[in-house]
Subunit: 468 residues, 2 copies
């Protein structure tokens, strides 16, 4: 029987899409940059079917590209253009919440639950699931774990990796690694789950996860603070961390980003006088109304004004005002595309090196591409600034990329020289394999290849991703 007929017969026709028009949505990535040619899309209904699918694919020599909400920004979830015959294995039908335990502060979700669905389930149980990023309504938890998603709350709750208590993973040969426990201490051998988290499906398929929940946040206070430079922002961050106002976000935003959002966004109001070049969007929250979050944050910001760290402060008085600030932050990616082409990056450095990182990046741009604008915003609290080089008016993306083909790599180099990473929260996928080859230590690459070889000896799991 031909391989696809066998998959279809075993999994059922609903779990094996073969028609061109059914496959088409899975053949292109979120940003429309990467195109692949999957021979079929498998949509297993449960873990056993994932095991069957992987066994059959292994037997037939078919490569497998695991996919969730397919919001990857680095081409991780479509087959490579020149890769081997591949199926996309979509976890979208595995979207059950297997368990919610408020007393245990844990929840067990299948890979196909959206991040937002997990957040909502936590809320219904009177708890809080902190993972939060722009694509959360589409992104699925399996993909969020496979890319170790970050977002704005990393400074308080860590990355996706840190929210996991246990995993269920189907291996390349179809066996199930059932490590779906909900324990907070477990020293029984090697920490296998951490291999699969962030591996972008190249070592196996995450089918379910047990996740940590937290006490609900019942009060929150949000402020926008004008600062002279990232140096002052760094000192203000330390002051806020010491203030007792538990921070859930500390974002750094360059003025140009606010300008662009005011120009292209809808219903965005200018939040304050924009007389400095840099702004901090700060949010603090607490788990109980008796905690004086507002007083603590206000006290820190007033002291920051006095110390010359802050130039001007707006502490939100209403939810509408707060929403306006977050709209500026979260609609910026869309608005920047309306402004024109940009060359984005996703790097991290030690938090204390952010000012150096921005100074050196600005110097790099001034020396090489003075016609471009340095757009910078991101997660100051965890060292992850999204720097982008915005094209001058009238230029196409192709022209701009041809003008600065090595911009992303050179910013990555600066980050690595400052003790950081050329890939912070988006992953490697197809787009950063060159940077992996150039910037990752040969010893680390050697170990990664050896581990890949152990877990996927035939090289069928998401080939052409992560490893150079």
């Amino acid at each position: 029987m031909p391989p696809l007929d066998m998959l279809s017969a075993t999994l059922g026709p609903a779990a094996c899409l073969r028609a061109e028009e059914d496959i088409a949505p899975y053949a292109v990535d979120w940003r429309g940059v990467y195109h692949g040619r999957p021979v079929a899309v498998l949509r297993p209904a449960d873990t056993a079917q994932v095991g069957e699918a992987l066994r059959l694919c292994a037997a037939q020599g078919l490569a497998v590209v695991p996919a969730g909400g397919r919001t990857s920004l680095c081409g991780a979830v479509v087959p490579g253009a020149d890769g081997p015959p591949s199926v996309v294995l979509s976890l979208e039908r595995m979207n059950r919440l297997r368990d919610v335990d408020a007393l245990d502060n844990s929840l067990v979700a299948e890979a196909g639950c959206t991040v937002e669905a997990v957040q909502n389930a936590a809320t219904e149980a009177g708890r809080f699931f902190p993972l939060h990023f722009g694509a959360q309504g589409s992104a699925m938890i399996g993909g969020a774990l496979s890319t170790n998603a970050g977002g704005i709350r990393t400074l308080r709750y860590g990355n996706a990796r840190d929210l996991v208590l246990g995993l269920e993973v189907v291996l390349a040969d179809g066996r199930v690694l059932d490590d779906l426990r909900r324990v907070r201490k477990d020293n029984s051998g090697y920490a296998l789950r951490h291999l699969f988290i962030g591996a972008e499906g190249t070592l196996g398929v995450i089918t379910a996860a047990s996740l940590k929940l937290f006490p609900r946040l019942v009060t929150r206070e949000t402020a926008l603070v004008a600062v002279r430079s990232p140096h002052e922002a760094l000192r203000l961050l330390a002051r806020c961390q010491e203030s007792g106002a538990d921070l859930v976000a500390f974002e750094l935003i360059r003025k140009v980003c606010i300008d662009i959002t005011l120009k292209h966004g809808t219903n965005i109001r200018q939040p304050m006088d924009l007389s400095t070049d840099w702004y901090c969007l700060i949010e603090a929250a607490s788990t109980h109304a008796a905690i004086p979050v507002r007083e603590a944050l206000e006290g820190a910001l007033m002291a920051g004004l006095e110390a010359g760290e802050a130039e001007d402060v707006v502490l939100c008085e209403s939810e509408a005002q707060r929403q306006n600030l977050w709209n500026i932050r979260e609609t910026f990616p869309t608005c920047s595309r309306m402004e024109g082409p940009g060359l984005p990056t996703d790097t991290s450095v030690p938090v204390s090196r952010i000012p150096d990182f921005l100074d050196r990046s600005a110097a790099l741009i001034a020396a090489n591409w003075p016609e471009g604008r340095m757009v910078a915003l991101g997660h100051m609290g965890d060292g992850n600034i999204h720097l982008s080089l915005q094209a001058p008016a009238g230029m196409t993306h192709a022209e701009w990329h041809a003008r600065a083909p090595d911009f992303e790599d050179r910013v990555g180099e600066i980050a690595v020289e400052l003790g950081g990473s050329f890939s912070a929260e988006h992953g490697i996928g197809q787009s950063k394999r060159g940077a992996m080859a150039a910037l990752k230590s040969p010893v680390a690459l050697d170990l990664m290849r050896a581990i890949k070889n152990v877990l996927d000896p035939e090289g069928l799991m998401n080939p052409g991703k992560v490893l150079p």
Copy 2:
């Protein structure tokens, strides 16, 4: 040249102890249970020397047992009695703090720094390093990471693993994996460091780590609460977690433990009327004086009294009173040895299953060893209860162990049946390899062996530990 002469010539005589009396302290474990016969003790001064040592040992076929403060409770840091010729590789001379960066909330310490030295360095920088356990004055950070140490603050700050930003590791062949970055987001390939954390030196030698620091805790409030049973304790825990009083410890203590400590301890005062069988030792803390920790904790405990979760509450009024409570908790292990032999365990279950776990363990004991006393205290907030079966008066350890040889394994089975782990925070070492074989999933063991084989193909790194 004979192997030891070559090691001595290369590393220098100070780094290669060969005299019987110099080796003796390294030949026996902390509890005096495990005895090995190392042929030498290597004490390298820096990472390059560790690399040299491992290269030479690999070339000579000498096994290597990495050691720090040697406080392992499971025989992880002495050679196995019937193992191959081995050297102990002590990291004790590598005790430099390479970097402290308060603005970055990070610190880089070599493996031979004691946990307490790291705590002190953090305090000097105006920050806080939360890892905290009984042996912290002797235990070294390399060992604490190699066993993924837990302790009492896991409920707020996680385990040792969660405190790591980056590692430096010397591999079995002497190569250095330099991943000593201080970034909080890094998605550049597989998370190699998590393999070495908790691997007990079987995959390589951790030589340095970059560690997370936190804001200092400036206020803390401590309470002892009498509860009818662990069921009430569980509900009280949830109430405290929702109270806004940020918990740093929530310990569960059975009355018999307090009795034993009052009997054998020095300067221990009875903390309250001991009319119930179970007690919760609760500590909350905050990073700023303006946070009303005392009011929040007191409010939760008073509400707990009203709801019938708590029977009686003592909220400490002085540091002396607080110290008395922690003395009861922390001198119990010593006092219990004075009381007589016990059979200890180290298991974890989901927090919400602790009452079931204790009920089932009590039933196991009643049915099989009714003459023994169930001693139970531990970290309720993270699911890790240290249950022990205390011998009747007059019995030797050998007699008691012969009477209940499978006690530890059967408690481990209960934990696993409840979705927990037979090894929570002490690790596997030599003592729990049988449990690994019996209770760990064959798929997980298979992957662990394959990974071991990749990283240590000659099987020279701490042989006879962790893997069955």
